[in-house]
């Protein structure tokens, strides 16, 4: 674990496409790979990623395709075309969420103040994602890097609330660490 300063970074909204489909159908998997370059992961809470694009597992038949390089409508229509003829759904929800990143040595402690999930490396590894609650707000958590860096996807409408909550939660780590508290 690095001694990196703990910080909250606002990353704004991000291209996000909800995909529904049947991962047991090889045509669906191929079409997804063709349109996004990534196969939808089937293990719960896992992700597939390539550079700045990723597919996050949301449910047995639901994924979130996120991209920091492609606009939502372009990606969505490419996926729609690729999945034509299959029972699948592609819904552009790029404006539905905002992303916060919690990074640094105390990132897990900050999140632990409001999230009941075990984010310890033995329980939640690099690249994993999970839907949970953070301070009563539904949140999608994705561990982007081992730094550690956790990205939080929250509904746009509660963005301000989550920002205020995160600021309060990180406050003690902005002071020089006294060493007495864990």
């Amino acid at each position: 674990m690095s001694g990196e300063r703990t910080a909250i970074v606002e990353r704004g909204s991000r291209t996000s496409i909800v995909v529904r489909g049947d991962a047991r159908d090889v045509r669906f998997v191929r079409a997804m790979a063709a349109a996004t370059g990534l196969e939808p992961p089937v293990a719960p809470g896992t992700t597939a990623h390539h550079l700045l694009d990723a597919v996050l597992w949301l449910g047995p038949d639901e994924w979130l395709v996120v991209s920091e390089t492609q606009p939502g409508h372009a990606l969505a229509s490419r996926m729609q075309q690729a999945l034509q003829g299959l029972h699948a759904a592609v819904i552009d929800v790029s404006d539905a969420r905002v992303v916060y990143a919690v990074t640094g040595a105390h990132a897990r402690d900050v999140l632990a103040k409001g999230c009941a999930l075990d984010l310890h490396p033995r329980a939640f590894s690099l690249g994993q994602c999970a839907s949970s609650l953070l301070a009563e707000v539904p949140v999608l958590i994705h561990q982007r890097s081992a730094e550690p860096c956790f990205e939080l996807y929250v509904a746009r409408s509660v963005g301000e609330y989550v920002r205020a909550w995160l600021r309060a939660a990180v406050r003690e780590h902005l002071h020089a660490s006294g060493g007495s508290s864990p």
């Binding site: 759904a89 929800v93 404006d95 999930l117 746009r156 409408s157």
Partner: protein, 993 residues
């Protein structure tokens, strides 16, 4: 002032850091590392409080969480906290504390008169005395409540910060005494994720107060070695000053960590307290034990203390609690107090042993020091009131009473295992004849008690317990333990057994012998309760209040139960102790609330246009978690004036509203048509692509659940809108049906509420405004249709529909561009005199048109037929609730039915919820009961109609048009006329009918 009872050296206090504090206004000094109790004792202050019922003077009894007497009020103003145990309060510079439950002062307390009257105040006194006459109870209650309670709650909001922390571990160890440290070491050495929680300011548990040796060196050296090893391990988290207070199912425990005492300044920006929510795969309870008091006349006098506490104040804090000490005991352990205090130079008057012999190793050591040991004694009383002056004892065989002068009595009747956390999680207890106490019976799944907490008496046994349990716990978590068996040498003399039966030897003497110090319960009270039939532990507890104080009877309960067994003439094994329940120790409201106070109290949802609304002075209302503009008053404008202005703008010109909060669900798939038809009672499959329809959703019982517009986006693609408040439940409802009842339907539902923001443009000039801004022919759009378009360059869905009953459009755009579009539309509308309107105007406008609002016109017992929607029911297709609609009760003609209601006076606005009557009644007193035949569901003043309007549900309402009814409002009947549920405008036409 010097601390006259502080020893020259010794103890774990930091003598380089003297601290000043105040107790009852007196300025005193102590050291860093002191508790308030140790500092008071160092200053010779024994009298620290008054008891609850009899206001008897009380002193410090114990040294930790068990303390029943030394409860103080700490700090002032908003930070003040009552009932703080002086034994757990860490001293800080400037601490202010005061005693409780006394007036005018601790030394002279008028409430002490209750003590003189005590023979008339036995157990159940309040129940017996204030029974009659029953109607006077409210007066009694007021007086009793004034007397009840010990300290004062703060009057202002708590200014301190608190927070919560979730934590997960393989092994949670509760208690950092010998057994707990051993368990934590063993588990951690196997690689387990360990949390070690301990309620004291430093690890060591009981060892902190003893002079034990482990492995040939001082036990405290072993403790610091263990702590250094634990702190160096990355998977170990040590939580000092953390009391695990609740133990729930499946390894869930909560604990409260104290960083700062009440009123202590905050130098580092950490919260005052933190509530830990711990999920442990295995739990090792090493919570130690609490010393058991003896029972004898006036055993509550200040200066009478538990034997361990007396030596621990000496060993740990360098405090001599007295200068002439008598040790009274029913076990060998208390002889250590005589040895330790004598070693510190304190005079020991005698050791008085209640057992018939005292020949073990420890008594021999005591005798060898020249200290007198009396055996086979019973204590007949003490002399001294505000401080013990002498102990009066005689041989249990009778004979002369001997008075031994002393200023401290150190007593012990053995040890009570702290089984609270084990019992909270439904661990069973059994009586241990040898120890005279209840111990854990077996183990719970994933939970084990070790050391003193399970009745292990020796230090060596506690260490072995701990090492073994820690290793087993780690192995159970799948971690291979390579830890070799631990057997650490300790120096422990053989001890003679406790004689717990002997501790009631004096009970036959009568007099005031206390078993529950805090609630003033005596031996006589227990016996009286049993004579009066309260002979079950639960009844006895509530009748006598034994064990119901803030100390929860930690020292007294076992003696109460033993007395109960004696009074019932039964063996202790027949007695089942009352179940321990969380919290072990009281939690502050601040810790429970954590950080979720003030602006963080609950999540707040805001639309993308929120700042615009706020900038225009909008008054917001809460709709679920959403903040919605209710109205936009100009300077000095009333709610009604603003609403009138907003309504007229919609009816006459153009106005704009933020409807982003409405729920939106994307429904698609080959079976979307069939699905949507089953969800709505209206037929949606008949919709052409690009068309919209209003629909009602019913529950299985046929009652209206939600309403909204469905739009057909494609052959297999719909967009369902819901009410703001219903968005989440409708989505969950749809998923539930798809997943549990209709898994064969190939449909995907996705909430898109947050992706879109939606703007309503309403009014006759909305077409003029919007026309030039869009790339489609608006004129060609039929009412209730939808087109994809660009509005001012923003990709959008344009809906031609309105909730206000007039011409209008709704425009849905990606939320990120909504603010930009809103300001563009507002700018373009300025030449038409555009204004924004809020939810209040929206309600008036829809009511003018007779549109229902879920939650106003519906209440979970209203069917579509009740609202006049029979014509829209598609009874030839399946839908949820259909079968229920054919029930005879739902077809009755006299069901409450939606009507319009008009008052005689046009400016009289009925209150919503007012009951409707057939006959006027003059006054509620004179009238016989009358039938309520309906109620007002919505009521407003309509500027457009230039009068008040109301909707209501009236029994058989469809047949009562034109009838006169009476609304019962504030004790008078207001005449109303029943009309159709839509209203004429000022010109006598239906408002956009």
């Amino acid at each position: 002032m010097t601390e006259r009872n502080r020893l020259e050296a010794g103890g774990r206090i930091d003598r380089s850091h003297p601290l000043e504090f105040r107790f009852d206004g007196r300025s005193l000094t102590g050291y860093r590392g002191d508790t308030l109790a140790s500092a008071l004792l160092a200053n010779g202050v024994h009298l620290v409080g008054r008891s609850f019922k009899y206001h008897r003077p009380r002193g410090v009894l114990g040294i930790g969480a068990e303390e029943p007497n030394a409860l103080v009020q700490v700090a002032r103003g908003a930070q003040t906290e009552p009932n703080v145990r002086a034994t757990q309060l860490m001293l800080y510079e400037g601490l202010e504390a005061s005693s409780q439950n006394r007036w005018p002062s601790l030394a002279v307390d008028l409430g002490g008169l209750a003590d003189l009257a005590s023979s008339w105040m036995p157990a159940g006194f309040y129940y017996k005395t204030f029974m009659w006459p029953a109607r006077l109870w409210p007066f009694y209650e007021r007086a009793i409540r004034r007397m009840a309670g010990l300290g004062r709650a703060p009057a202002a909001a708590d200014p301190d910060d608190y927070d919560h922390m979730h934590a997960h571990c393989d092994v949670l160890v509760v208690g950092a005494g010998a057994a707990g440290l051993a368990a934590a070491l063993a588990a951690a050495r196997c690689g387990a994720r360990v949390i070690l929680a301990d309620d004291q300011s430093e690890a060591g548990g009981q060892l902190l107060g003893e002079r034990y040796e482990i492995g040939g060196r001082s036990a405290l050296a072993w403790v610091s070695g263990a702590m250094a090893e634990l702190r160096a391990m990355s998977e170990v988290r040590v939580l000092q000053r953390t009391t695990i207070t609740g133990h729930y199912d499946h390894g869930y425990l909560i604990g409260c960590q104290v960083f700062r005492e009440p009123g202590q300044p905050d130098p580092v920006g950490v919260p005052r307290q933190r509530l830990w929510k711990i999920r442990a795969r295995r739990t090792v309870i090493a919570a130690g034990s609490i010393e058991r008091p003896l029972v004898f006349p006036d055993n509550d006098r200040p200066g009478i203390m538990l034997a361990f506490a007396a030596r621990a104040y000496c060993n740990r804090y360098g405090v001599r609690s007295g200068s002439r000490v008598v040790v009274v005991t029913a076990c060998d352990d208390a002889y250590r107090t005589a040895l330790d205090l004598a070693a510190a130079g304190v005079g020991i008057a005698a050791v008085v042993d209640l057992r018939p012999s005292g020949s073990g190793h420890l008594p021999r050591q005591v005798r060898a020091r020249g200290i007198e040991v009396l055996i086979g004694q019973r204590i007949v009383g003490v002399r001294g009131r505000a401080r013990v002056e002498a102990l009066r004892t005689q041989s249990s065989a009778g004979g002369a009473i001997r008075e031994i002068a002393c200023d401290l009595v150190a007593m012990s009747a053995g040890w009570i295992p702290s089984v609270h956390l084990f019992s909270q999680a439904r661990g069973e207890l059994q009586f241990d004849e040898r120890l005279g106490v209840f111990v854990p019976l077996g183990r719970l799944e994933n939970v084990v008690c070790v050391g003193a907490a399970r009745g292990t008496a020796s230090l060596r046994g506690a260490l072995q317990d701990g090492f073994f349990a820690g290793q087993v716990a780690a192995q159970a978590c799948g971690l291979a333990g390579r830890e070799e068996a631990q057997d650490i040498a300790t120096v422990e003399p053989e001890e003679a057994p406790l004689d717990w039966r002997g501790i009631f030897g004096a009970a036959s003497l009568g007099g005031r012998q206390f078993v529950d110090f805090q609630n003033d319960v005596t031996v006589d009270d227990v016996r009286l309760a049993v004579r009066e039939g309260y002979d079950a532990p639960e009844h006895l507890k509530r009748y006598t209040t034994a064990g119901m104080g803030v100390d929860q009877g930690r020292t007294g309960n076992i003696n109460v139960l033993a007395l109960l067994a004696e009074a019932r003439a039964e063996a202790m094994t027949t007695i089942a102790p009352t179940t321990f329940r969380p919290p072990y120790q009281a939690l502050s409201f601040g810790a429970i609330a954590g950080a979720l106070v003030g602006p963080l109290h609950a999540p707040t949802r805001k639309t993308p246009m929120h700042d615009w609304h706020a900038g225009r002075g909008a008054v917001f209302e809460n709709v679920g978690q959403w903040k919605r503009p209710r109205h936009y008053p100009s300077a000095g404008e009333t709610l009604q004036a603003a609403v009138d202005r907003e309504c007229l703008a919609v009816r006459r010109g153009v106005a704009i509203a933020d409807v982003s909060t409405l729920g939106n669900i994307d429904v698609q798939g080959p079976d979307a048509e069939a699905f949507i038809d089953r969800i709505y009672c209206t037929r949606m499959s008949a919709l052409g692509i690009g068309r919209c329809r209003y629909g009602l959703m019913l529950r299985q019982d046929g009652m209206i659940f939600d309403d909204g517009i469905a739009a057909r986006l494609g052959e297999q693609h719909y967009l369902v809108s819901t009410t703001t408040a219903g968005a989440a439940s409708v989505f969950a409802w749809m998923e539930e049906w798809l997943q549990t009842e209709w898994p064969d339907l190939r449909v995907y539902c996705t909430s898109v509420t947050e992706h879109y923001a939606q703007i309503a443009l309403s009014g006759p000039r909305s077409l003029e405004l919007l026309g030039p801004l869009v790339d489609i022919e608006l004129d060609a759009m039929p009412f209730m249709s939808m087109r994809e378009a660009r509005v001012a360059g923003v990709p959008a869905r344009v809906f031609r529909l309105s909730y206000t009953g007039g011409p209008g459009f709704e425009i849905a755009v990606p939320a990120g561009r909504a603010y930009e579009l809103w300001t563009t539309l507002f700018g373009a509308g300025e030449r038409f005199g555009i204004i924004a309107y809020g939810t209040e105007a929206m309600h008036v406008l829809r009511a003018e048109r007779g549109f229902i609002m879920v939650g106003h016109e519906t209440d979970g017992s209203v069917t579509p037929g009740d609202l006049g929607f029979e014509g829209r029911l598609a009874m030839d297709k399946p839908f949820i609730g259909k079968r229920s609609l054919r029930r005879a009760d739902l077809l009755r003609l006299d069901r409450k039915r939606l009507v319009g209601l008009l008052t005689q006076a046009p400016d009289c606005v009925l209150p919503e919820g007012a009951q409707l009557l057939d006959e006027p009644i003059d006054s509620p007193q004179s009238a016989a009961p009358v039938a309520m035949i309906g109620h007002v569901t919505s009521s407003y003043f309509s500027a457009h109609c230039a009068r008040s309007i109301a909707l209501g549900l009236v029994r058989g309402g469809q047949a009562r048009l034109g009838d006169t009814l009476y609304a019962w409002v504030d004790g008078r009947a207001i005449e109303v006329t029943v009309t159709a549920p839509r209203f004429l405008d000022a010109a006598g036409k239906y408002a956009y009918g």
